[in-house]
Amino acid sequence: MNKAMDKDPSSIREFFINKGYTFFNPAMTIPADIVMNFMGEDVRNRLLFTSSPSGDELCLRPDFTLPLAISYINNEVQANKFVYDGYAFRFPSINEKTRYCPEFRQIGIENFGDINKINVEGDVISQACEILSSFYDDHLEIKISDISMFYQLLNHLKIDTYLFNRVRRLYWSGLGATEIKDSIKKIINTRFDAKPRLDLIDEYKNNNLSSTALIQKLTGSDDLSIFSGRRPDDIVKSYIDKSELINGTMINDTVIEQITEFLSIKGDISRVIELLDNFQKKYHIDFAEGIENLENRVKILKKNQIAKDMIEFNATLSRKVEYYTGLIFEIRTKDENKNEPIAIGGRYDKIFEELGSAEPIPAVGCSIYVDRLLFDEGDNES
């Protein structure tokens, strides 16, 4: 039975405060550049922009993690574990059926700086489950994934940086394994298709031709003044890189096959561990650490009364925000009709360094979509 209608969502905030989290309400606006650097394509397309009187481009917070991390790094807060409760802003996507306005309430937690990574991850998932089961009894399921294993695979494949970045972006755009496979094939087939002037490239490499001269020869024009913020050296380097990729490209079917096969891995934990093990043997990659972490997280959940059959692994899980570096998880109700997770979380260890921190600070968090809890029903009235 669903008890969500009778419950006050503020009880979620109270629950976390009792667990030792400090309540904090971070800034409503953050510099747009920071948001653009961290959010996936899907979120970036749905941001609400504004500008400061001095003309700086700002963005209404699309989540709480970024503004909280900014406050943390600026020493505006003294704790390490936070709970927040308030509105975040994103225009609804076409698939979202539960809201029509850009603001939505989120209650969530952040744990910054704890180096016992797997334990913290297990705790965050367990606590989110505990409070959510007071809304839904046991009708919850947990989906987990680990993006670090995917990055490990991309590095292992030794693909060039252009394709690496492209695949990375395809992943974060939220496409499924098959769509990603088709897109990679398309990218490869429409790669730099000029007939490169190898003679000019040779001249350039032998220092007989400057970057600008090479560009002049290729365009057939001596009168070139517009480079639009790019240095001729960089343009030529990119041109040569791309030209060389046409010939000695390392992209073959097995690369695409490995990416697709990895992204297709999903199922219950025992099955997935078997699949990951098969995968690492087949393609000579070492997933030992990833598999061990997965097993340990499940152990902690089990200790916290979360049955193994509530947990499922899915390699293409929630990719709304680009800052995840390891664990990603979602909590959903078992109701087949509800396709949106009620909580999303994960690990984002690089966020502080990218915000300018001198030292790495491990970070884990989880957000509960309050509107989804409340809107979620009405069908239990009978």
């Binding site: 252009y162 790669r191 730099f192 365009t219 070139l224 639009s228 913020g229 790019r230 343009i235 990119s238």
Partner: protein, 245 residues
């Protein structure tokens, strides 16, 4: 409600001249009230049709609002100014003039950019290396946004441009542009080039109707007659009639 069919005609510029010429070729003469500055007029010999002279942009907007029945304007302006054009506007007849493409154009010095794929790499690297988003000058923000959303790209910044868009990279107010071009000579003169898969829209002047306008039987007859004059065959006319009724 007026029983006359209200037709919006471009009020100035090349599009107006081409429209007038086109109608003339098909035996239809325009009479503009109070000379060239009047905003209403008629087609000589067709009392059931009232002409309103508006800017091509206004024609797009008025079609969407439903304050005119028909309008001659560019497909580019319909796509730019009408929300969900496929659902709100019907393209009744392609008129065959005013042909031009809305395209992505980059500096010719960008020898490493041959296609949208390559541009995607540059846009991504531009943000990573400069911390800023690549700026695109355009007078078509909606068309541009839809285009990039379709290919899943969002690391750019649109810069409003009204006129002389092709000059924006030259004076540093944007890195690349999205603009309309027919021969490409203005692009070339400004050291810009088109790229593969960078054609967003093939535009031309068309006769449009709004879908939310009440089409009386009288108006429908007038429309059928007009289309007949403009060279539409019976099958096309009955298709349009059934779509609007």
């Amino acid at each position: 409600m007026s029983r006359k069919l209200i037709l919006g005609i471009p009020n100035k510029g090349r599009l107006q001249k081409q429209t007038v010429d086109f109608l003339k070729e098909n035996g239809l003469e325009i009479e503009r009230g109070r000379g060239d500055r009047g905003y209403i007029g008629k087609l000589i010999g067709y009392d059931n049709i009232e002409l309103i002279f508006l800017s091509p942009k206004e024609i797009s907007l008025e079609l969407m609002k439903g304050s005119i029945d028909l309008g001659v304007t560019g497909l580019d302006l319909i796509n730019e100014y009408v929300h969900l054009p496929d659902m709100n506007i019907h393209n009744i007849l392609e008129l065959g003039f005013g042909k031009a493409d809305v395209v992505v154009a980059v500096p010719i010095t960008w020898i490493d950019v041959m296609s949208i794929n390559d541009l995607e790499d540059v846009i991504y690297n531009f943000r990573v290396s400069t911390g800023k988003r690549l700026r695109i000058a355009t007078k078509y923000p909606n068309i541009s946004r839809n285009f990039f959303e379709k290919i899943g790209l969002s690391d750019y910044l649109l810069v409003d441009s009204h006129g002389a868009t092709e000059g924006a990279p030259a004076y540093g107010s944007s890195e690349i542009i999205i603009d309309i071009t027919s021969t490409g000579s203005t692009l070339a003169a400004n050291q810009l080039k088109r790229i593969e898969s960078g054609t967003i829209l093939e535009s031309q002047a068309c006769l449009f109707s709004g879908l939310n306008r009440n089409w009386s039987k009288d108006k429908m007859i007038t429309l059928s007659g007009l289309l007949n004059f403009l060279g539409s065959d019976k099958a096309h006319i009955s298709k349009i009639v059934s779509l609007l009724s």
